[in-house]
Amino acid sequence: MTVTVKFFASLREKVGTGSVQLNASTPLTVAQAWSQACNETPLPSHVLMAVNMEYVEPTTVLHDGDEVAFFPPVTGG
């Protein structure tokens, strides 16, 4: 399966890219997608995450074609 991983704001700067494609032979959770995209580091506790633009938990399982996004706490308004 293939998923798109996106990073926003300060997280995009730290990771060094706004978007990567991940390929996996077995289903990935959101937390596993983070680790695979970020050099096997664990998912930090303050990071927010969404799949197909809905908030999810780290244990959510990804499907082929999903867009998973990671971003810092929001500061709009």
Binding site: K6, F8, A9, S10, L48, A50, M53, E54, Y55, A69, F71, P72, P73, V74, T75, G76, G77
Partner: protein
């Protein structure tokens, strides 16, 4: 119900007025409207701020704002809601956000509009990146009270 995320400066009061004109047919039903407007200040955490870039995750942002508008419509007896949020390059005195809730009673209008701005501030995917007068750039960090604070 309307949600707008825009790179253009907007006049909050003209926006509300125009929107009320569009909903004129419902006009006789409402008795109360509470609005909130957030404006960019020229200081933050004791530093002079020259400009700001507001990043967002489109269309998750728009989806989220529509979702909380619908939640408000279900949760309170409100007639209509309006949310406008600026993104991109912003300078001090520009409006950042406008939230409005129309209802038959003031309590409902207050509660619904407060719900919208709190949900927006805590969960809508926007991020502020400040440029200080001294040239330094930094991301604004959220705090638990919901008031934006700066992480250097």
């Amino acid at each position: 119900m309307k949600v707008v995320v825009t790179t253009e400066p907007f006049n909050a009061w003209e926006y509300i007025q125009d929107y009320e004109q569009q909903m004129r047919s419902q006009a006789l039903q409402w008795g109360a409207v509470t609005t909130f407007v957030g404006t960019m200040r020229d200081f933050n955490e004791g530093d002079d701020v020259q400009a700001m870039f507001l990043e967002h995750y489109s269309p998750m942002t728009e989806n989220y704002l529509e979702k909380i508008s619908q939640t408000a419509m279900f949760q309170w007896e409100i007639i209509d809601t309006l949310i406008v949020h600026r993104v991109g390059e912003i300078v001090p005195q520009d409006n950042i956000v406008l939230v409005a809730a129309w209802a038959a009673h003031r309590g409902t209008a207050y509660e619904a509009s407060r719900f919208l701005i709190e949900e927006l501030k805590h969960n809508a995917p926007f991020w502020k990146h400040e440029t200080l007068t001294n040239g330094e750039k930094r991301w604004v960090a959220a705090n638990t009270s919901g008031e934006a604070q700066t992480k250097i």
